[in-house]
C-alpha cells in the first residue's frame, strides 16, 4: 500500500471544464481535445486496487481504485469525451462546454471510486453538472431541467440513506458486491436504478435529454445511465430482479420510440431500451453475461453518441427535430446520413458493427443459463431495436418524404466527430479482439459463426420487412405519448398548486387570527398603559404629593380608629 499512486483521471476533465470558460478560442479548442486524451492516458495508468486514498471523518476514502471494469468504462468515457469535444468545437455556449467536461470527469470519478462516499460525491457532482448542461440551453430547457434535477437529487437522497445505513450496519464504506437481504443495499440499488432510467421511473430521460442543445445531448447520452450500469455490475451482479427490470425497459423503450415523433426523443427512448439489455445482462450475472453487459455499455456509448451527433447535426443545420418536419435530407447531407446509418446498424447489432459483437454475449449468457423465456424476449427485443431505431431513425429523418429542406452537411469538426465514431463502430465490429481483451473476464467467445450471422441477418431483415409493410401504421403524427412523468406534471402539479394554495390561505388566516388577538391585546394595553391610559400618562409632582398626603391621612385615620390608645 502507498506505493501505488495514480492521478485521478477525473481531475483531467474536471479541471479542464473549470478552465475552459477563461481561455481564448484557440486555447479552448486545444484543451477540449487534449483533456480527454490526457484522461485516457491517466485511465490506463491506474493499477488494480487502491491507488489513492484520503482520510475523511474516520474513514479511509479510496479515491482512485482500479479494476479491469473501471478501466473499460473509463476508456469508453474518455473516448466519448474526445469525440464529443471534437463535435462541440463550434459550440459557442461556454457554460455548456464547461458543465459537459465536469460531468464527464465526474463520471470517471464514479467508475474509479473504491468507496461509497467518494462514489456519492462524484454521483452528485454528475447530477449538478448534467443539470447545468441542460439549463445552459436557455429558457425552454428550464422546466425539464428542474424536473431532471429533482429526480436526481431524490435518487441521491435515497442513495445517501442506503450508504449511511450500510456504514452504520457494517462499519465499512467499501464499495463491493452487496447482498439485497438487508435494507441499506436495497436503497443503494434504488438510487442506482433511478440513474439507470429503470421503469417505471424512466420518464426523466426522454423528458429532459431532448431539451439539451445539439451538442449537449451527445454528452448527456453517455454518462449518467452508463455509470449506473457500472455501479450495478460491481454491486448487484446476479440480482434476479434486474433481469425483469431490464426486459421491461427494453420493451418500454421500443414501444414509446415507435410512437414518438421527435427524432431525439426516439433516440432517448432507445437509450432506455439499450440500457435494458445491459441491466438484464447484469441480472443474469454469469461471466459471459457480465462481459456482454460491459461490452455493450462500451459499444453503446460510441454508437449512441454517433446517432446523437447525426441527429444533432440535423438539428444544428435545420433547427428542426420532428420527423413530421424532416425527410429527404440524404440528398444534401451525405456524411450525416451515412454516419447516422452506421450508428443505426450498430445499435441494431448488424453483423460487422460493434453492437453485434457485444449484444450477442448477453443473449449467449441467457442461453447458457437455460433462461428460455428471457432468451426469447431478448430476441424479440433485438428485432424491435431494428424497428424503432435501426430503420425508423434514418428512414424518417433522411428518407421518407421530401421535406423540401436542403441543408448542407455540418462544419468539418462535427463531421470529423461523426466519422471517428462511425469508424470505431465498424472497427470494433470487424475486429472485436481488442475490446474482448479488456473485458472484466477472460473470454473465448466467437461472435462470427455462420449460424449466428445468418440468424441475425434473418432477424433484422425480416424486422425491416415488417417495418415497410406496416409503414402506414408507423406514420408520424404531431403527438407525444403520456409517460409516468404525467403523474407529477399533471395531477402532481395540480396537487402541489392546491397545497400551496392551502398553505397560503392557512397562513393568511393564521396571520389574521393572531393579528387580531395581538391587536386587541395591544389596544387594551394601550388603554391602560398608553400615553393617555391611567397607568401610562405622566403625573405632575403635585398630584403625587396630593395622593401621598391622602394616603398618609388615611393611614392616620385608620390608626386612630383601631388603635385609639396609641
Amino acid at each position: 500500500m502507498g506505493i501505488d499512486f495514480a492521478m485521478p483521471p477525473a481531475l483531467a476533465l474536471i479541471f479542464a471544464g473549470l478552465l475552459l470558460p477563461f481561455l481564448r478560442a484557440e486555447a479552448r479548442a486545444a484543451l477540449l481535445l487534449l483533456a480527454p486524451a490526457l484522461a485516457l492516458w491517466l485511465v490506463w495508468l491506474v493499477p488494480d486496487g487502491v491507488a489513492l486514498s484520503l482520510p475523511f471523518l474516520g474513514h479511509e476514502l479510496a479515491v482512485v481504485n482500479g479494476s479491469k471494469l473501471s478501466r473499460l468504462f473509463g476508456t469508453a468515457f474518455a473516448i466519448m469525451a474526445l469525440a464529443g469535444g471534437l463535435f462541440s468545437l463550434n459550440q459557442k455556449n461556454l457554460l455548456e462546454l464547461a458543465a459537459a467536461y465536469v460531468y464527464a470527469g465526474s463520471a470517471l470519478g464514479v467508475v474509479f471510486a473504491g468507496d461509497l462516499i467518494t462514489l456519492f460525491v462524484f454521483w452528485e457532482l454528475m447530477a449538478i453538472a448534467s443539470t447545468l448542461v441542460l439549463w445552459s440551453n436557455g429558457s425552454k430547457a428550464r422546466a425539464a431541467g428542474l424536473r431532471y434535477a429533482i429526480m436526481h437529487l431524490l435518487g441521491g437522497v435515497i442513495l445517501m440513506a442506503g450508504i449511511a445505513g450500510e456504514a452504520a450496519m457494517t462499519g465499512s464504506i467499501a464499495f463491493h458486491a452487496m447482498d439485497l437481504s438487508t435494507i441499506p443495499p436495497q436503497f443503494i440499488l434504488a438510487g442506482f436504478l433511478i440513474n439507470a432510467a429503470a421503469t417505471p421511473l424512466s420518464a426523466w430521460l426522454p423528458d429532459a435529454y431532448p431539451q439539451a442543445s445539439w451538442s449537449g445531448m451527445v454528452f448527456l447520452s453517455a454518462f449518467t445511465t452508463k455509470t449506473a450500469i457500472y455501479v450495478m455490475m460491481v454491486g448487484f451482479a446476479g440480482a434476479e430482479i434486474l433481469v425483469w427490470l431490464g426486459l421491461a425497459m427494453m420493451f418500454y423503450g421500443i414501444i414509446y420510440a415507435i410512437l414518438e415523433n421527435d427524432m431525439r426523443r426516439i433516440l432517448a427512448y432507445s437509450i432506455v431500451n439499450q440500457v435494458g439489455f445491459m441491466v438484464t445482462g447484469i441480472g443474469i450475472g454469469t461471466e459471459m453475461a457480465l462481459n456482454g453487459a460491459a461490452a455493450h455499455a462500451f459499444t453503446h456509448i460510441i454508437y449512441k453518441a454517433l446517432l446523437l451527433m447525426s441527429a444533432g447535426s440535423v438539428l444544428y443545420m435545420t433547427a428542426k427535430s420532428k420527423c413530421t418536419d424532416l425527410g429527404g435530407l440524404f440528398r444534401t447531407m451525405p456524411v450525416t446520413t451515412i454516419c447516422g446509418i452506421v450508428g443505426a446498424l450498430s445499435i441494431s447489432s448488424f453483423p460487422f458493427t460493434s453492437g453485434f459483437v457485444s449484444k450477442s454475449m448477453i443473449l449467449e449468457g441467457a442461453a447458457d443459463e437455460h433462461l428460455a423465456v428471457v432468451w426469447y424476449l431478448l430476441m424479440a427485443a433485438s428485432a424491435g431495436v431494428f424497428l424503432h431505431a435501426g430503420i425508423k431513425f434514418p428512414w424518417f429523418v433522411f428518407f421518407q418524404k421530401d421535406s423540401g429542406l436542403r441543408p448542407a452537411d455540418p462544419p468539418w469538426n462535427m463531421q470529423a466527430g461523426m466519422i471517428i465514431a462511425a469508424l470505431l463502430c465498424i472497427g470494433i465490429g470487424v475486429l472485436p479482439a481488442p475490446l474482448y481483451a479488456i473485458l472484466p473476464y477472460a473470454t473465448s467467445y466467437v461472435p462470427y459463426t455462420l449460424n449466428h450471422v445468418m440468424s441475425q441477418l434473418q432477424l433484422l431483415l425480416f424486422s425491416g420487412l415488417a417495418f415497410f409493410l406496416m409503414l402506414g401504421w408507423l406514420k408520424r403524427t404531431l403527438t407525444i405519448t403520456l409517460d409516468t412523468d404525467w403523474l407529477w406534471r399533471k395531477p402532481g402539479s395540480i396537487a402541489s398548486l392546491w397545497l400551496i394554495d392551502c398553505f397560503d390561505s392557512g397562513w393568511t388566516w393564521l396571520v389574521k387570527a393572531l393579528g387580531s388577538s395581538v391587536q386587541s391585546t395591544v389596544a387594551n394595553l394601550r388603554r391602560s398603559h398608553g400615553p393617555l391610559g391611567l397607568f401610562g400618562r405622566t403625573w405632575p409632582t403635585g398630584t403625587m404629593a396630593f395622593w401621598t398626603t391622602v394616603m398618609l391621612a388615611a393611614f392616620l385615620i385608620l390608626g386612630m380608629l383601631f388603635h385609639a390608645d396609641i
Binding site: 425552454k140 422546466a143 420493451f251 421500443i254 414501444i255 415507435i258 410512437l259 415523433n261 421527435d262 420532428k322 429527404g328 440524404f330 440528398r331 442461453a367 437455460h370 428460455a372 432468451w375 426469447y376 430476441m379 424479440a380 428485432a383 424491435g384 431494428f386 424497428l387 424503432h388 428518407f399 421518407q400 418524404k401 421530401d402 455462420l450 449460424n451 445468418m454 440468424s455 441475425q456 441477418l457 434473418q458 432477424l459 433484422l460 431483415l461 425480416f462 424486422s463 425491416g464 420487412l465 415488417a466 417495418f467 406496416m470 401504421w473 408507423l474 403524427t477 404531431l478 403527438t479 407525444i480 405519448t481 403520456l482 406534471r489
Partner: protein, 82 residues
C-alpha cells in the same frame, strides 16, 4: 412517396427494384437455412427459418401493441404547454 424532384433514389422504378432485390435477399436468407445445421438452445429456435418468422412476428406484435397504447396515451405535442 415517389414524388417530385427526380433524385434517382426516390423514383418509382428504383423503389420497385429495391423491393425486388430486398425480396430476393430475404428468400435466399431463409433458403440458406436448409443448408445450416441448427444449434438450437431450446426448441422453437431450431425450427426452419426461426429468426426470420420470429423477428417478423415480434415486430408486428410490437407495432400493434404500440398502436393500442397510442390510442390510450397519445396526446397533442403541446399537451404540457411546451
Amino acid at each position: 412517396m415517389s414524388e417530385q424532384n427526380g433524385h434517382w433514389l426516390v423514383s418509382a422504378s428504383t423503389i420497385r427494384l429495391l423491393w425486388i432485390a430486398f425480396s430476393i435477399v430475404l428468400a435466399v436468407l431463409v433458403a440458406l437455412d436448409a443448408f445450416l445445421v441448427p444449434h438450437p438452445y431450446f426448441g422453437l429456435d431450431g425450427t426452419f427459418g426461426f429468426s426470420a418468422w420470429y423477428g417478423f412476428i415480434s415486430c408486428v406484435v410490437l407495432v400493434v401493441l404500440a398502436k393500442v397504447l397510442g390510442m390510450l396515451f397519445k396526446r397533442p405535442d403541446d399537451y404540457y404547454g411546451d
